[in-house]
Amino acid sequence: MAEKFDAIVVGAGPAGTACAYTLAKAGVSVLLLERGEYPGSKNVMGGVLYRKMMEDIIPGFYKEAPVERPIVEQRFMMLDEQSALTFSYKGLEWAEEPYNNFTVLRAKFDQWFADKAVQQGALLVNETVVLECIVENGKVVGVRTDRPDGEVFADVVVLADGVNSLLAKSLGFHKEFRPDEVALAVMEVLKLDRRIIEDRFNLEGDQGCTIEIFGDSTKGILGTAWLYTNKDSLNIGVGAMLSGLIKHKLKPHALLDYVKNHPMIRPYIQGSEQQEYLAHLIPEGGYRSMPKIVGNGVLVVGDAAQLVNAIHREGSNMAMTSGVLAAEAILEAKEAGDYSEKTLDTYRKKLLDSFVGQDLKKYQDATHHFERSPQYFERYISMMNRAASQMFTVDGSSKWEKQKKIWRDLGTAREKWKMARDLMQAWRVMK
């Protein structure tokens, strides 16, 4: 298949497919390579897909795409061993068009999206691993695949090869990632009757609910667990920094079982049936871990460019926006007949000016700060639980006495100072 295309996109996830779709729609010849049996077969996500960035690509997509439930309530649970302090936002503006976000099952959704790119004219070839980029005179001119005679050429190659991004690494765009730059996530899909889901999560009809669970759900390691509602199944998962799992010698799947058996979570999933078990890495190094994303004849998008906002569990939306912006830069380069790094660099500039770059910058210190300071997840969440228990338990002691007890529970004067400093620091890295 020693053919030449205008563009080759490596990886048919949200970033790669968004890029291929946009290029094909503009009449560019594009080859979309996917290593799995079908798009989505290697992909894992907690499950929330944001409507806006997908709709920028395909207006009204949710009317035909395999989405599960529009989310109308987002709960946040601060978990201790025997208790939980929960807050939530539920709004009916999310229950109607244009919607805010949806739960999706990626193996289904990614196939649908890639089909759309094919309908626009992209050539999708599955079951094909790209082994390396072909570089000539300092410019990427194609890719070598694991198919017989598997060299393919193009004016430009888009690397959408996911979190491990072996291709960008081999081009020298980044070094090997460190265990404190990635979170290891494990998840199960649990089948449950839809009426039971709607009763348990206080939902009407197709409405959905997400629960993010902090604290004891990761045994104090930086990370979160989540419980999301699909139509007739639940996604329950836990993700924690790989460095934290290593340090504490925890098995991720044992942590998942701990979450599933936790007395605050167990009732939600009772009687469900396991359908699938999945593991994947999440790039969480943020802005500081972003690799070089533009070279001569090459662009990097999505997880491969580390585009994840771990604080707001956004990733696939950033991936899509990066794919579209990469496509737009390629269209300009095609117009100019120049695929040099200098011309393609408009992609990087536009990406950094967009919400993607802005949000990555906003939280550039957050992951690193919380990674270095385990007390937030190890101590403070327990403390909040004890304070709530103290304040809401009516036992004959006065509320002033109760406040004194809570104050004493915060520890010595030194510990209180440290806590005040930590609160300031947390504000500083999140603001």
Binding site: V44, H248, N261, Q274, E276, Y277, H280
Partner: protein
């Protein structure tokens, strides 16, 4: 070190997953001596989410057939002792849902 109760066995979880194994491994332990002499905890046997790695007295058994292709072992091995590639196109894990 934090303790967790023993949960479901990994075999029970892996039973839920569809795999199309290649005939040869895409994971290679570069130097078994490094595992034997430098890594008392055999960390990959702990954090691998599929328990692909099992220490067998003098060597590391690599059950690549059950690999989720997450990449944790490559990044997490403190001695960079694992060569990690993708399985041949169309092979390896095949997620049906999530």
């Amino acid at each position: 070190m934090k303790e967790l109760p023993k949960g479901q066995s990994i075999e029970e979880k892996q039973y839920l997953v569809r795999f199309k194994a290649d005939t040869k491994s895409h994971l290679h332990v570069l130097d078994a001596d490094v595992c034997a002499t430098k890594c008392p905890d055999k960390l990959c046997t702990i954090f691998c989410p599929a328990e692909v790695y099992k220490w067998e007295e003098v060597r590391m058994h690599v059950g690549y057939e059950g690999c989720h292709e997450c990449g944790s072992c490559r990044i997490g091995c403190p001695y960079e002792n694992i060569r990690w590639e993708y399985p041949k196109g169309g092979h390896g894990i095949i997620f049906r849902l999530g």
